[in-house]
């Protein structure tokens, strides 16, 4: 049952990825991207990470996609011009295929190793995923967390200065 569900969601996520990269109209690309984000949120739930799924939907499907759609509508972009260069597409397809083959060979041949932690499914179900994330974030990763807040502040100021009428 879980296997079937996984394959269905994987099919949907890859199909929406194709819509993102192939559709002529940027609005269709944006809608395909929203679909991809929701499918990835389903994957996160299947991987016992419900907090990450919620953040995925709130931040990506909520905030970032609204921003992208606003800009698409603000700039009033039509469909892309038809001038396309075939050799560019062929070389790009070869490069991305190389990336894909490389990654799949590594995944097939390789063995996942690394330090095993102690966070099993039962621990997550007992203490709650959000609590565990919060505990790790505010003890072990406190400094990166603060740096991320500074990064967001700088991004806000930079975006306002860049988008202002008179610079």
């Amino acid at each position: 049952m879980e296997t079937l569900f996984f394959y269905i969601v994987a099919l949907v996520v890859l199909g929406s990825g194709l819509i993102v990269i192939l559709s002529k109209n940027p609005v269709n690309s944006a809608l395909g991207l929203v679909n991809t984000f929701f499918c990835l949120a389903i994957f996160y739930v299947m991987l016992y990470a419900p907090f990450m799924a919620a953040v995925q939907i709130l931040v990506y499907a909520g905030a970032i996609m609204v921003l992208i759609l606003f800009v698409i509508m603000l700039l009033n972009l039509g469909t892309e011009a038809r001038k396309r260069y075939m050799h560019g597409i062929v070389w790009s397809a070869l490069a991305s295929l190389l990336v894909l083959v490389n990654a799949v060979v590594f995944i097939k041949k390789g063995q996942v190793t690394g330090a095993m932690g102690d966070v099993t499914e039962t621990t997550i179900l007992k203490y709650g995923h959000t609590e565990m994330i919060g505990k790790t974030l505010f003890t072990e990763f406190l400094l990166p967390f603060e740096i991320a807040s500074i990064l967001l502040l700088v991004a806000i100021v930079g975006a306002i200065i860049l988008a202002k009428k008179e610079v």
Binding site: T3, A10, V13, L14, G17, L18, V20, I21, P26, S29, L33, T36, F37, L40, F43, A49, M52, V55, V59, Y60, I64, L67, I68, V71, I72, L75, L77, E80, A81, G88, W91, S92, A93, A95, S96, L97, V99, L100, A103, V104, I107, V112, G114, A115, G117, D118, V119, T136, L137, E140, F141, A148, L151, L152, A155, I156, G158, A159, I160, L162
Partner: protein
């Protein structure tokens, strides 16, 4: 049974798709969306491996990737708006001020 390798294969295919989109598209916003696609595939790999290794660190890293992606979205889209004001287009072939 679904193993970590299934998730990683899906993420690899998504990443390759994003690479193809970044290399072939001419609209700057679509390229931006393809970059978001690649970031998301990396996030999926992080969470799958974090679950496989019973470790929480990968999910914290996903959190930071999301924060950086949000900052990147704000600054990148502001750049596109200011470029559109100057050139009336966001075709990447017309971004050639530094070309000689």
């Amino acid at each position: 049974m679904i193993s970590v390798y299934h998730y990683m294969t899906v993420a690899a295919i998504l990443f390759a798709m994003g690479t193809y989109g970044v290399l072939t598209r001419k609209n700057a916003i679509v390229i931006f969306m393809c970059i978001e696609l690649m970031l998301n595939s990396v996030n999926l790999t992080f969470i799958a491996l974090s679950r496989h290794l019973n470790n929480m660190d990968g999910q914290i890293f996903v959190f930071f990737v999301m924060a950086v992606a949000a900052a990147e979205a704000a600054v990148g889209l502001a750049l596109m708006i200011s470029f559109y004001r100057n050139r009336e287009s966001i075709d990447v072939e017309e971004i050639d001020l530094l070309k000689w």
